[in-house]
């Protein structure tokens, strides 16, 4: 066999193999749900008016000076539309259309004001774009239920791999950019942790240099060494536990909105594609055992 053919067999063919659709479907439901909650948060906190109606001037992205907010109550309706599209994505109804419209509708909001730039909204745009490409409505979806022809328990492997590689890029860059003189000298992380030294129990530790150093250098190691290890079955479990601890810590320390939840949902895509089924079976068996034991105790 020649070199090219073996390369193809090793790297290209596997991308078109069918794998369990469950992990992609789980991510679809999680992403749609998180975005639905985010729309609700914008509404609830009055951000729609404060960010997109009240300002008299908007900072434009280079080349996108023509993007303007809707007049009147248009921005509210826009967020209603975004919420409906998020819901459609979550339940897998009119999925492809919903994903495409969501991509454009969300990108539009993003482009309105540079002062609102957030890395996690950029990530949402990238995810939304990839969502338009993948057949995430083949199972556990209204589309598949209404049109059984569509229904299938598998998806091509590339649709999982595209997400994995996208998250790898985000994680590895998040580590690489921290190899910079300020971060290596423990700022700005030191200042931020010092401001939270009123935290119960661990608060006083935030004033200790060695704690800050452990966190600052640990994050670099987690992203640069840990993220690639997510790709290997033997190491992925340990790294995933670290990542979940990292994201939860970020959530409680810095309150960075939906970012930890989106990335945690994304990180689960590194597991074997059938993990939701195995998790369900495990939970079901556990519940059954507990019921049986409960019944036995009641009888005894």
């Amino acid at each position: 066999m020649n070199y090219r053919a073996s390369l193809r067999q090793r790297f290209v063919d596997p991308l078109f193999e069918q794998v369990d659709a469950a992990s992609l479907v789980f991510f679809r439901v999680a992403f749609g749900s998180i975005m639905l909650v985010e729309c609700w948060r914008f509404w609830e906190h009055g951000w729609i008016a404060r960010h997109y109606i009240e300002p008299e001037f908007f900072f434009k992205y280079y080349g996108f000076g023509w993007v303007e907010p809707w007049p009147g109550s248009g921005m509210y309706w826009h967020f209603v539309l975004l919420a409906v599209l998020s819901l459609l994505i979550a339940v897998g109804a009119l999925y492809r259309l919903a994903a495409i419209l969501f991509f454009f509708a969300f990108t539009y909001v993003f482009l309105l004001d540079q002062a609102r730039y957030l890395n996690h909204f950029y990530l949402v745009i990238l995810i939304a774009f990839i969502m338009t490409l993948v057949p995430a409505n083949r199972s556990f979806a209204l589309d598949a239920w209404l049109r059984p022809r569509l229904s299938k328990d598998t998806v091509p492997a590339w649709s999982v791999w595209l997400f994995r590689l996208q998250f790898e890029i985000v994680y590895i860059y998040a580590g690489v950019v921290k190899v910079n003189p300020d971060w290596l000298r423990l700022e700005p992380l030191g200042m931020w942790l010092a401001r939270r030294d009123d935290w119960p129990v661990i608060g006083p530790l935030f004033n200790e240099d060695w704690v800050v150093a452990l966190a600052a250098y640990g994050v670099i190691a987690l992203h640069i060494i840990g993220a690639p290890l997510l790709l290997f079955r033997r190491t992925r479990g340990y790294v995933m536990v670290l990542y979940f601890a990292f994201h939860l810590m970020n959530h409680f320390l810095f309150r960075i909105g939906i970012f930890p939840w989106v990335t945690m949902a994304g990180t689960l895509l590194f597991l074997e594609p059938d993990w939701p089924r195995r998790a369900l079976r495990w939970a079901w068996q556990g519940a059954e055992r507990a019921l049986r034991r409960g019944g036995a105790t009641a009888r005894g």
């Binding site: 078109f16 193999e17 369990d20 001037f57 002062a115 328990d153 950019v177 700005p188």
Partner: protein
């Protein structure tokens, strides 16, 4: 397991649409890899200049605070007005404008436009004195205070009116960060 059986490849030849998809994915990934490196094309730290900072996963790297005063000038009469971001922007915008040179420029253009429209002044000049502190450093000038920003065109090239960060790093005192932004 029935699922295991379904994961076997059909072994069939790849069709043109498969190669098209692969090509697209390759282009997407190469773009994702290269785009965050834009900051290497600019001199200085992206945390200071903000050039190439966005869309590059530069996360949690800068604690940056700034105090910005804009000066609008009528070249014919020599009359000058002071303009503060707080009077023209909402709070979250005003808090950011001084720390992001490209936003300073956009805001300067906005002021020039306001003065031209409302006071009918020709050739309005706008300058800004911006003191900024990065990661606990003593606050220093972020941009050239003598440059007429109304004459500066927005571009993706390096902004030569951003002053290089020469203030050396020192651990901030108090540890929670610097509050004095005068420079």
């Amino acid at each position: 397991m029935n699922i295991k059986a379904a994961t076997r490849t059909s072994g069939g030849a790849l069709q043109p649409r498969h190669w098209l998809l692969l090509g697209f994915i390759a282009v997407w990934l190469v773009f994702q890899l290269l785009f965050p490196l834009r900051h290497l094309l600019y001199p200085g730290s992206p945390s200071w200049t903000e050039e190439g900072h966005r869309f590059a996963w530069q996360m949690k790297l800068r604690d940056k605070k700034a105090q910005a005063i804009f000066f609008v000038r009528d070249p014919a009469s020599g009359r000058e007005w002071r303009a503060l971001p707080d009077d023209y922007l909402v709070a979250h915008q005003a808090r950011k404008v001084g720390t992001r040179p490209d936003m300073i420029l956009q805001f300067a253009h906005y002021l020039a436009q306001l003065w031209a429209q409302e006071r009918d002044i020709d050739g309005v000049e706008v300058r800004a004195r911006v003191c900024a502190s990065l990661n606990g450093r003593k606050a220093v000038l972020l941009i050239d205070p003598d440059r007429d920003l109304a004459r500066v065109e927005r571009s993706l090239r390096h902004a030569d009116w951003i002053l290089p960060l020469e203030q050396p790093f020192e651990r901030p005192k108090p540890r929670t960060g610097l509050l004095d932004l005068s420079c």
